[in-house]
């Protein structure tokens, strides 16, 4: 899968109109520099040779050189990864936690008003685009009520030398963007948990557990919920891939210095080497995330491992 992705990027890059050397060197590069690029990447050679050179470079960690930042692509990207992880991770955790809680509540109170309200709200949040939602949050909480900061992840002047103040500041900045991401994803988890929980609750083994005289609380958590969570693990893995668009947009709106916003900057500057690198690294991360999800799943569901 990973080689396929890399080759695909390579081919896509080749499809770009214009002289690839110019694309990679940047429009403001000198003629000599462009020639140098042509040499290094062997752009005059046949396609399969170029591919081999390209793959070789990737293996050594050479993702090319970003002419906008004047630094190696890999460095530029890796620098931004922690902030993106912080944002995406927090958003995902909030979404999963509250998604499960609301889903369980909706399942237990099936067909009551609470259930209907939760389901309706879920549907609305599922339909609203994230760039609209984020801006509504900004409108109310930043502009009208000045409760949260608008951009960046740290206020100017606050530095890591005072770790607690620094952490609090970052958290304060983290609130709105992560909530935006979370609200969009939450809907999926609420719906899924609700359905899964209802199915679980009406299963035979729940009736049998009741018949054995187990306390309802125990049945709920140890039996019903545990089984209901299985599909959620799978979905969480898939969501990791789907939320990338949301991350890009959120980081842009809140000027959050992560890989998402980097992508936009790269797009605006037509910095193809950087874009290429982002693309490959993101794909690889998604693949790794899926593998991890699979491993977690086999750990929880013995039927997969032992069959």
């Amino acid at each position: 899968m990973v080689p396929a992705v890399i080759i695909f990027t390579f081919l896509l890059l080749k499809l770009a109109p214009g002289d690839p050397a110019v694309l990679m060197a940047g429009e403001t590069a000198t003629k000599e520099y462009i020639e140098m690029i042509r040499e290094i990447y062997g752009l005059n050679k046949p396609l399969h040779e170029q591919l081999i050179i390209y793959l070789g470079k990737l293996f050594t960690g050479d993702f090319g050189y970003s002419f906008t930042f004047k630094r190696p692509v890999l460095d530029v990207i890796l620098e931004r990864v922690p902030t993106t992880l912080l944002l995406a991770g927090t958003g995902a955790l909030i979404a999963i936690f509250f998604g499960i809680v609301l889903g369980v509540v909706a399942a237990l109170r099936k067909d009551t008003i609470a259930d209907n309200i939760i389901s309706s709200l879920t549907l609305i949040f599922y339909s609203i685009p994230i760039f609209a939602l984020a801006q509504f949050l900004i409108l109310f909480l930043v502009i009208n009520y000045r409760l949260f900061p608008l951009s960046g992840y740290v206020t100017i002047g606050v530095s890591p030398s005072d770790p607690i103040k620094y952490a609090m500041d970052v958290l304060w900045h983290l609130v709105l963007p992560s909530i935006s991401l979370a609200l969009i994803q939450m809907a999926t988890y609420v719906k899924l948990t609700r359905t899964s929980m209802i199915e679980s609750l009406y299963s035979n083994y729940i009736i049998a557990a009741k018949a054995r005289g187990l306390k309802w609380r125990r049945i709920l958590f140890k039996h019903a919920l545990k089984n209901a969570l299985l599909p959620i693990i799978t979905v969480a893995g898939i969501q990791l891939g789907l939320i990338i668009g949301g991350v890009v947009i959120t980081e842009t709106i809140f000027s959050w210095p992560g890989v998402g916003r980097l992508t936009i900057e790269a797009i605006e500057a037509r910095d193809f080497p950087l874009l290429n690198g982002i693309f490959v690294l993101t794909s690889v991360s998604v693949i790794i995330a899926n593998i991890v999800t699979d491993i977690v799943y086999t750990y929880v569901d013995p039927r997969v491992k032992l069959r």
Binding site: G241, I244, V248, I249, I267, F279
Partner: protein, 272 residues
Amino acid sequence: MLLFRRSRSLTISLILFSAIIFFGLAAGILTDKEPLRTGYAQGLTPPSPQFPMGTDQLGRDVFSWTLYGIRTALLVSLVSTSLTVIISIIVGLPAGYFGGKLDQVLMRVTDFFLSIPRFILIIFAVIIFGPTLTNIILILSVFSWPTIARIVRAEVLSIKEREYVQAAKVLGAGNFDIMFNEILPNVMPPVLVASALQMSDAILAEAGLSFLGLGDPNMASWGRILAIARQAIYVGGWWTLVFPSIFITVTVLSVNLLADGLNDIFNPKSVR
């Protein structure tokens, strides 16, 4: 009202969707202003009888933009989804029916598309090929068909073994006959549900692209006005955010409800 009892979602969806379509088609009658034309007013103006939804910083009429935006959204999503479904059927039907190499290739391809960050790739492709309406539609189709094709294939696999298919075989029906007359009609219900979801995805994707400045500059897209809203809301221009947001949310909502409703009809026994 019978429909309402059968499926609440479907009824609401159809009502909302018809309203949206009506507004979209009637855009020319409801407003005399061109959606992307600047200078109707001197910069940002709040809603008024002349501009029911106000204007943006360059004097563009938000009302007109919002209404014509319906056309963009529906055009892109309907066409790209239709293309997606057609490709999916063409690939998924034989893959599921005949199995073998074609099937394996299909599975690999869909795995691939599931692993890549779709949105970034779409952005990438739009940059490379240029942000025009046709390109956007084609790119969206290309990146959506694997998911639907997978559903088609899965359905084909389960339907293949059913009695009426075996019966048709025994009666001497040829493979293509069977595929199109027996299997395809029964594949459609879940495919239709998935397509509805795909359509709402497409609306959001197109809006997202426009928001990032990668939409067709000649089309009035909601994404683009919402990008403009970023600046506008600081100086009090809430109307640039609120009205297009309502319209896009309602449109996507109605399509999602359509998917729910179709699911209600096709799977009456599923968990509600």
